[in-house]
């Protein structure tokens, strides 16, 4: 039973076309939140994803949130870095202008740090969704 299900799943995966879009859409979506949907003509979804993820990230910065770097510190720093990295272009731009480097000195700044991590994690979900649309698994 389990074997037949596995075989069916593998067969279904083999049927799904691996177009260039299935690589480009997630890559563009990672760089600019929602862009992976927009290039596949899901205009409203892409716009809402862009607004939501960007707003969370920018609000986090305005709340004096801290942004993590790939410095290989303790495990929580590494997890924070992975979350932040999901924000793609915004993360790169933030590092480029040297923002988000302050110490977390009050509660709101801690919320801001979490806002930016969650923005990155939500963008990972949006990237996966863009990929599923590109391979035809979702409309």
């Amino acid at each position: 039973m389990a074997n037949s299900n596995t075989a069916r799943t593998k067969a279904a995966e083999a049927e799904q076309p691996q177009s260039a879009l299935s690589v480009i859409a997630p890559a563009v979506g990672w760089l600019i939140p929602g862009a992976g949907h927009i290039i596949q003509r899901r205009w409203l979804r892409g716009l809402l994803l862009f607004i939501s993820i960007t707003a969370l990230f920018v609000l986090g910065l305005l709340m004096q949130g801290h942004i993590y770097k790939a410095n290989g510190g303790d495990i929580l720093d590494i997890l924070g870095f992975i979350g932040d990295l999901g924000a793609g272009g915004m993360y790169i731009a933030t590092l480029a202008v040297n923002a988000g480097q302050g110490a977390v000195a009050f509660a709101i700044a801690d919320y801001g740090t979490k806002f930016m991590i969650v923005a990155g994690l939500l963008n990972f979900i949006a990237v996966a969704d863009a990929y599923h649309i590109a391979i035809g698994k979702k409309q």
Binding site: R45, L48, L49, I51, S52, I53, A55, L56, L59, L62, M63, Q64, A107, I108, Y111, G112, F115, V118, L122, I125, A126, A128, D129, K138, Q139
Partner: protein, 60 residues
């Protein structure tokens, strides 16, 4: 420039944007997306209120 949000307004903003993303990415049709987004929003804010009152009761 520093933005100062209250705990509740921060939770509200967080719930709003996270719910929009969850709704879009976890459901297939537009109607289901809206319904699931609203469900997530209510659960987020409901959870905040329940946790807040629970902490208030524990503190007393």
């Amino acid at each position: 420039m520093t933005l100062h949000l209250t705990h509740f307004s921060a939770a509200f903003v967080f719930a709003l944007f996270a719910s929009i993303v969850f709704g879009i990415t976890h459901r297939e049709t537009a109607r289901d997306m809206v319904r699931y987004g609203l469900y997530c929003f209510v659960m987020f804010l409901g959870g905040v209120l329940v946790a807040g009152w629970a902490m208030w009761l524990i503190r007393r």
